[in-house]
């Protein structure tokens, strides 16, 4: 009965998926309860903001710049057909602040910082450093996991903001300096059309949500990894894949909730 086998396999996979989701949720709850140390000894969290945030700056800023430059070129091509090339500033800014800033910096953050966090925690587990900490009466979830989680949650919105800023600068370089769109209307139209609550706050909310999602996936995969070389490498891959899919899915949901009918 191949059909019965198929159904059985699907059933098992769905069951496993749900079980793992519940396990991850339980882990997240425990981590939040043990998060006190990440704030009482804030330098631990600051150190992680440095590792996940500051060290991701290069890739975020350079990518932002080029994405903005491409937006400038493509946007100008389309807009000038309708004689509204002065609106280039609006197009670049809205595209970045609403969508591309949070989403692309989230994807980059997952592959640059999320994978590093997973690999680090996984290797600490594989080399018994987490067990050693436990035996020293120090809870690794509070001491190792929570600061990395909060470091990521703090770093991600800042990176998304910098990404958008670099992108707008890239759009300005191409649109105004290279092609010659009027500088005054580029900035003034941007200023009048980009709404603080509607666009910027919603973009920041997105980046905060993505930061939480990527960080929780990264620390969970690391903590839950099989403590071998192969296990850690699988966990790192899973972090990048899962984070990317979750970011894109969450972006759709958030966009549908935030920008419906306006």
């Amino acid at each position: 009965m191949p059909n019965a086998d198929l159904i059985r396999t699907i059933g098992r996979q769905v069951n496993n998926g749900i079980w793992r989701l519940g396990y991850a949720a339980r882990f997240a709850m425990i981590m939040l309860l043990q998060s006190g140390i990440a704030f009482r000894r804030f330098h631990l969290t600051i150190k992680e903001v440095y590792f996940t945030g500051v060290l991701s700056l290069i890739i975020i800023l350079v990518s932002g710049l080029f994405v903005g430059m491409v937006l400038g070129l493509q946007g100008y091509n389309t807009l000038q057909r309708y004689g509204s090339s002065e609106s280039l500033g609006v197009l670049v800014a809205l595209a970045l602040v609403r969508e591309l800033g949070p989403v692309i910096s989230g994807l980059l953050f997952a592959s640059r910082a999320g994978s590093a966090v997973t690999a680090e925690i996984g290797l600490m587990k594989a080399t018994e450093q987490l067990s050693a900490m436990e035996m020293m009466a120090v809870d690794p979830i509070g001491r190792v996991v929570a600061p990395r989680f909060w470091g990521g949650v703090i770093a991600m919105p800042l990176l998304a903001a910098l990404f958008s800023a670099a992108g707008i600068f890239g759009g300005y370089l191409v649109g105004v300096q290279l092609i010659g769109v009027d500088e005054g209307s580029f900035w003034s139209q941007m200023q009048s059309s980009v709404d603080f609550h509607e666009d910027i706050v919603n973009g920041v909310i997105k980046s905060v949500v993505f930061g939480i999602l990527v960080s929780i996936i990264a620390v969970f995969e690391g903590y839950d990894s099989v403590p071998t070389a192969e296990g850690v490498s699988n966990a790192t891959t899973r972090t990048v894949v899962t984070s990317s899919l979750v970011i894109l899915f969450a972006d759709f949901i958030l966009t549908a909730l935030m920008f419906r009918g306006t």
């Binding site: 600490m124 080399t127 018994e128 450093q129 050693a132 436990e134 035996m135 020293m136 009466a137 120090v138």
Partner: protein, 276 residues
């Protein structure tokens, strides 16, 4: 209550301890073990690879929960403690992991200082002095500024030992302390285990399969085989033991009660079967 006369009671009392990774009827790693670790003594737990030695240490440290039986440390049943009580108890324990398990992102000095900084509010100068004293005890005061990846295997083991004794534990547990060391490091670590135990007034448990190194330094030996205690006694008794398994182990004979061959079907039949 044993609290009235704490010194009379052994530090660790293991009674009828069983453990299986799969709690509903999987293969039992440990099956009804009884052990006593008296105060001030160094006790070895010996046995082949995968016989449940390390599991025993993890059960004593409360990292695993027993299937049956109990472990009492200083009169407290480990698996009945709540989280805070367990963490308090662990401050009295030190565990040396097989490859040291040093924190690779911080220096030797910071590794040894780690438990002190986490659990005490001592001023920095005092922590510095204490760390240097601990490192001096293992002969590595000069290596304080190095990073763990700059250490040899033997040095890493000694730094980890300094970290293990950072808070002067009552009970020191060693998980395979002799694995992968050259002969000089081997006897250094062996001597340290004995000397630190006596100097700190602690009790030690050494999990090992290194017969030669451990019999020189321990007071008592438990032999574990297939989850049970196969033999026990002082080092002399073990060396002269007539029990076949112990004899094979101590004399390092390749075949005996522990067979050379993994269980398989009849050799002749298997070879012929492939041609059929």
């Amino acid at each position: 209550m044993p609290a009235n006369q704490p010194s009379a009671e052994p530090l660790v009392q293991i009674s009828d301890l069983s453990y299986a990774y799969n709690s509903n009827g999987g293969r039992r790693i440990l099956d009804g073990i009884n052990m006593t670790i008296p105060r001030g003594k160094v006790v070895a737990i010996m046995g082949g690879s995968g016989c449940g030695k390390t599991t025993t240490l993890r059960l004593i440290g409360g990292q695993l929960r027993p299937l049956h039986g109990e472990v009492r440390v200083d009169g407290q049943v480990v698996h009945q403690l709540n989280r805070n009580q367990l963490y308090l108890l662990r401050r009295e324990m030190g565990m040396l992991f097989q490859f040291g398990a040093l924190f690779t992102d911080i220096s030797v000095f910071d590794n040894v200082a780690f438990p002190m900084r986490e659990h005490t509010k001592l001023p920095d100068e005092m922590i510095r002095d204490l760390v240097l004293m601990k490192l001096h005890a293992v002969g590595l005061r000069g290596a304080a500024h190095l990073m763990p990846n700059e250490l040899s295997g033997g040095m890493a083991r000694r730094v980890a030992l300094a970290r293990t004794i950072a808070l002067d534990p009552k009970l020191i547990m060693y998980d395979e302390p002799f694995t992968g060391l050259d002969p000089i490091s081997l006897s250094v670590v062996g001597q340290l285990i004995r000397k630190l135990n006596d100097a700190l007034g602690a009790s030690s448990i050494v999990v090992t399969h290194d017969v030669a190194s451990s019999l020189k330094i321990v007071d008592y030996v438990y032999f574990v085989s297939e989850g049970r205690i196969a033999a026990e006694g002082t080092p002399e008794e073990i060396q002269n033991s007539a029990i076949p398994f112990v004899k094979q182990f101590v004399q390092a004979e390749p075949d005996g009660p522990v067979p050379f061959h993994y269980p398989a079907m009849n050799y002749r039949e298997e070879l012929l079967a492939s041609h059929a």
